[in-house]
Symmetry: C2
Subunit: 392 residues, 2 copies
């Protein structure tokens, strides 16, 4: 009878409807029925990505989308600016290195944020930078980067802005076209609440133009094939059709709520959760948290392994732990998907109890009370339709 | 109330148990539970591949496995012999070209088979051939190639034998280690009855040794990462865990029946189906059909589109059509998976009726009778345990 609560910043819990779609018998993908599905899901994703560019779907993990974002748009020997601060943004550097693209690193300590003015500085110093690699939400640190501000600096140049939006697109504000993102890489298993195995790319016209002049070394990741097939509502290789069908239901649900309302809802949950943590002196890893997730230190006086174990064994709460320099020091939790107010409150209470059991000074109920206050503030805010529609 | 029968040579119908596993809530993949799943499914696949080498699982289509089979084992400028005769074997040539590997083509007309002696001849003529690319079942033509015979020729050299087994491993005899296949690429959605989106590779020690000396240009497809993680029962990138869980059930079922019994069962179904077609003068595309599938010409006097349409609309039968030079001329049907005797008989009857409706001379019941005779012959054959266990 153990209840399992998957709260990691991806994969996340999949809505029941989308799960049941996975149990449908497989049908063939070279059919008008598949074309209609493909068309519907890519149209819906355009709205979520806020783009009128192409949406491409690849069978693969988020890293597949990242690699395709490199090899289709940069030739060996070209320079790229990599904004590196955390496990996933550092992956951009690693992929560039494999393809002999020269990564120029703008690094800040894990938990810090990149300064748009500094990005501009790099672009002036190296006018031959062909692309800038950024990260909307660095899942290893919980930082929400200022993609809008950075995009403004890049827009004045010929460089492409290539953004890993894997763990946050669909959860937090991200306006691909308006902000000036050229390539946006996303995984289905994060804020889009799909099952792992499907990667999604948004591609701008500026990116396609650069792609034409690029020496590509790719077959499966040759995105021009996906574009050309995609414009006929089909795919170059056998698509993971069931994963797409399931995702299509989530896309519909997000758009029915309204993508901006989803962003507000997620932000409210994040604010409430953090107010709760703050009340019991649990520190965040960063002053710039993405609303897609929270990463916070496990109090030093506490045995981190026991903390995670009690939460999992007694309360069924599955957080992600830390990676790299944060290993054994932090926990990470998503705010996107079907995690709701009642979940957030229960989880805060479980954290209170766990810390108390492990000898911390905690006033039981205090974190929960702080979160409740934040959630009730929202109720009287104007225009907060999202939450009202959830708790009518 | 329309009943849909997916009979294409992949994707194929997924057993109910495996479908229901897809509807289970997602759980995290960095857990002991995932490690146990990973271990179990790769161990089971070793038995199906008949190898003691490494089994690697990639999120991607079968083509992803093919590309990884090229880029990890051949350096730019090296020569490879490509046995090309059909849409899928020609893909080996295309992938080699992308990676600047020099493909030497041994081509035979679509529907024909490669001669092992000729392969040996090529290997002697070009002693610097580093790998031979073969195809167990060429899905576009229905040909079952003599992989065992070809392997024998290659075993005497230092060249690797890299085989696309995507549409037939698990359906027909294929003994990776004993025959001397170094790399075997498979897709989950064929004889393994999984959903599309998961690719599987078997890798020999000889292949790993060559890989160490290879100039690799890959990140997502860098198989050394999958090997090193895999030996710890984990994966380098977020795995499509639900697809693996579902596949694990099919692997169990196949091994419970016994993989050799599965081969016999599939061969019996193929023989029965072909005897039926022959009786009504429907010609195969090849004298060397793989038992994984049958590809046959739609009689010339018949409108091919109407033939396919009647089968689909009236009988719910979804065959694959032809590709390339066979487009509009043939139909293709799988014999693997949960397609059984009763299906085969019903399908033959539907073909009889459809041909008759379209003006062909067909004695109703004759194809079915021929198939029945073949299936009943099997009953008195010694050691045919597979069929007996299916029809006790």
């Amino acid at each position: 009878m153990k209840k399992y609560r998957l709260l990691t910043p991806g994969p996340t819990q999949v809505p029941e409807k989308a799960l049941l779609a996975m149990a449908k018998q497989v049908t063939h993908h070279r059919t008008p029925e598949f074309e209609a599905l493909y068309h519907a899901v890519t149209q819906g994703l355009k709205e979520i990505f806020q783009t009128s560019g192409d949406i491409l779907l690849l069978a693969g993990s988020g890293t597949a989308a990242m690699e395709a974002s490199v090899t289709n748009f940069l030739s060996p020997g070209e320079k790229a600016l990599v904004l590196a601060s955390g496990k996933f943004s550092e992956r951009w550097r690693d992929i560039c290195s494999v393809y002999k693209i020269e990564p120029i690193l703008y690094e800040v300590p894990w938990g810090e944020r990149f300064n748009p003015a500094e990005v501009s500085h790099y672009l002036m110093q190296y006018p031959d930078i062909k692309a800038v690699f950024g990260t909307l939400c660095e899942t290893s640190t919980g930082v929400g980067h200022d993609i809008k501000g950075i995009a403004r600096m890049i827009a004045e140049t010929d460089a492409l802005f290539i953004v890993d939006g894997i763990s946050a697109v669909g959860a937090v504000e991200c306006r691909m076209d308006r902000w000036g993102i050229d390539i946006l890489a996303v995984g289905a298993q994060k804020a889009l609440m799909g099952l792992p195995g499907l990667a999604i790319l948004g591609i701008s016209e500026k990116a396609w133009q650069k792609s034409e002049k690029t020496k590509r070394q790719a077959f499966y990741f040759d995105l021009s094939k996906y574009r050309d097939c995609g414009r006929q509502s089909t795919t170059p290789f056998t698509p993971p059709k069931s994963l797409m069908e399931s995702l299509a239901l989530n896309v519909d649900a997000l758009l029915k709520e309204g993508i901006e309302n989803v962003w507000i809802r997620t932000a409210n949950l994040a604010a409430a959760f953090r107010a709760g943590l703050q009340r019991i002196s649990v520190r965040l890893t960063t002053p710039y948290p993405s609303d897609a997730m929270t990463a916070a230190y496990i109090p030093e006086e506490v045995d981190a392994k026991r903390f995670m174990k009690i939460l999992e064994n007694r309360f069924g709460i599955k957080f992600a732990g830390g990676q790299g320099i944060f290993k054994g020091k932090i926990f990470r939790m998503a705010h996107f998907g079907i995690i709701d107010e009642c979940d957030i409150l229960g989880i805060l209470a479980a954290i209170e109890m766990t810390l108390k059991m492990l000898g911390c000074k905690v006033t039981l109920g205090s974190a929960v009370a702080a979160a409740e206050s934040v959630l009730m503030e929202g109720d009287v805010e104007q225009g907060n339709q999202a939450k009202n529609s959830l708790c009518p």
